[in-house]
Amino acid sequence: MKPLFTTAGLAAAALLATEVARAAAPEVKIDGSSTVYPVTEAVAEEFQKFKKGAVRVTVGISGTGGGFKKFCRGETDVSNASRPILAQEMEACKQAGIEYIELPVAFDALAVVVNPQNNWAEVMTVEELKKIWEPAAQGKITKWNQVRPEWPDAKLSLYGAGADSGTFDYFTEAIVGKAKSSRGDYTASEDDNILVQGVSGDKFALGFFGFAYVHENPGKVKTVKIVNPKTGKAVEPSMDNVINGSYQPLSRPLFIYVNRKAADRPEVAEFIEYYLVNVSKLAREVGYTPLPDAAYKAAWARFQERKTGTVFGGVPEVGIQIMELLERELRS
């Protein structure tokens, strides 16, 4: 019955170790959005190399909402977020006495894509996309010619992000006008690679997913130009168009939120500085669009002053342009 003693010993030792354990190497705990993850992972990887392992950085993926839950319980130091903090999350943080510093770190763009053999849908408007994706379209809008009469009389097969992803939240918010409001009869997957495969194998497919996936799969899918509702011009999804703010409404800023108290810990402060200095290069490497340098400078100033709170007021917002964001950062 050796295992029994092992168990008892293990349990006793575990209890003894409780107090001792927490004083190990300094740690920076990060969790949150899967969209922001590749960016933060790249920074964490480089930072650990730079510090030669003296600081431990861990990154989890529990979604923007799941990340904020942990963040507002004080379990994490930094939260990855693919959208600004919402009112109920602000409330949760407030009740737990947790203040946060909001820092924009990169831009993410969603692409609307079709099969490379599709020679009709070059440009689409937000209204047309809404007609396709709104809940009322379910079971009704099933053919291309129902969207625009000159398009073929062929079945419209739809591919999109699954309901748990920030991509889904953002797309529905930007196109339908209400987050999480979408038709349900389309092929949904949290895994964008499956969507790429679906669209590349179906001549009459239409789908949406992160711009990085278009980049990684050249020739498999074709992007659709989206008419910017403000200027009326059809804009192609590209890094340049995201940076100059013309690719709207399907590009969005990504954020990290830093716990105000954790920010006073030297390892966290150092990590954030490293983040803001290096993210521009690293974000590009993992397929995201960096902000202009001025934005990182503004964010760093904001962090140094330990300016807490959000510039968004807790409501979902679509079509934030980089310059506009920058102005708000400077004003606040």
Partner: protein, 318 residues
């Protein structure tokens, strides 16, 4: 009359034999048909597994270098490795085995050898069988509330190991009971007859004979736990972790350290899932390579179970 009868009987008998032969031949045909159906059913499983494994091998074998096992995750697919993931998997399995095995074996022995046959026992039995069918995510939610928050173990290797231990308990309990039930009653009766106590019978006769069956159950349970992702994601397994937990042995007294129990962790299936969902085929090759490691680990464990059972059974003579 008498002279006429034999030929008639002969013809009748001959007709009877022919009919019999036909009948036997017909039944043999059915035998062959069923054997074919059975073979087909078996090969569906084997061929699917083989096809999957070959597919994984083709995609991922070129990534199976020593560096792959000795590197941390990275944004560069060709530099990324599974060091933190396989170490995490091993440590979590260690906790799972250390806690789950003794608990489940004791429970199985108690239910089979000690427990009185009444409604409480019946209730426990029904519960154990039902627990085996509970989706693993439910264990994750339970563990999140109990281990992570109520007991304040945090998002640690300890919480993960305990969660998986709970999850594989029913499997081992059922295996233990089956193994004990297969022991002939005469053995127990003989031991009781010479005045052995219940504990002596259990320790000296029941457990040694039941060990092959128990070991099989333990390893099948652990092999299932190795591939589990959902409950660990629920309790807060990490994805990027570029350090190893503190070593269990130290150079200063008392030479053993349990700090690693409190460390954050990731495991192989989570690392694999993360790579599958990344853009770019290079990451998919990594995912396939991690998949090969998981499949090989599981196969090796199951193979070991079969070998162990074979070796231990040989020693038993009754």
């Amino acid at each position: 009359m008498a002279s006429l009868s034999p030929p008639v009987t002969v013809t009748r008998a001959a007709a009877g034999i022919d009919e019999l032969r036909l009948n036997v031949a017909r039944r043999r045909r059915w035998d062959i048909v069923f054997a074919a159906v059975g073979l087909l059913a078996t090969s569906v499983g084997v061929i699917t597994l083989l096809a999957l494994f070959v597919d994984l091998l083709l995609d991922g074998y070129h990534r199976l270098t020593p560096e792959f096992f000795l590197s941390y995750p990275s944004r560069r697919a060709d530099q990324a490795g599974i060091l933190s993931a396989w170490v995490g998997t091993c440590l979590v399995m260690l906790v799972t085995a250390a806690v789950g095995v003794p608990l489940s074996v004791c429970a199985g022995v108690y239910l089979e050898e000690y427990a009185p046959r009444n409604w409480v026992t019946a209730l426990i039995e029904i519960n154990v069988s039902n627990l085996a069918a509970v989706p693993s995510i439910v264990y994750g939610l339970l563990a999140l509330g109990l281990f992570v928050y109520a007991l304040n173990f945090g998002q640690s290797i300890l919480s993960a190991g305990l969660t998986l231990a709970l999850m594989i308990m029913p499997i081992i309990v059922v295996a233990t009971r089956e193994a004990i039930r297969a022991i002939p009653h005469t053995i127990r009766e003989a031991a009781y007859a010479v005045g052995a106590t219940r504990w002596q019978v259990t320790r000296d006769h029941v457990l040694p004979y039941a060990i092959p069956g128990i070991a099989t159950g333990v390893i099948i349970g652990l092999a299932r736990a190795i591939g589990e992702t959902a409950p660990l994601v629920t309790i807060g397994a990490l994805t990027f972790i570029a350090y190893l937990p503190d070593p269990p042995f130290t150079s200063t007294p008392p030479f053993v350290s349990f700090d690693w129990l409190w460390s954050g962790f990731t495991v192989l299936p989570i690392q694999m899932f993360n790579w599958v969902s990344r853009p770019g085929t290079a990451f998919h090759a990594n995912a396939a390579a991690a998949g090969i490691v998981i499949v090989v680990l599981t196969l090796v464990m199951n193979g070991f179970a079969i070998w162990l059972r074979y070796r231990l059974r040989q020693r038993i003579t009754w």
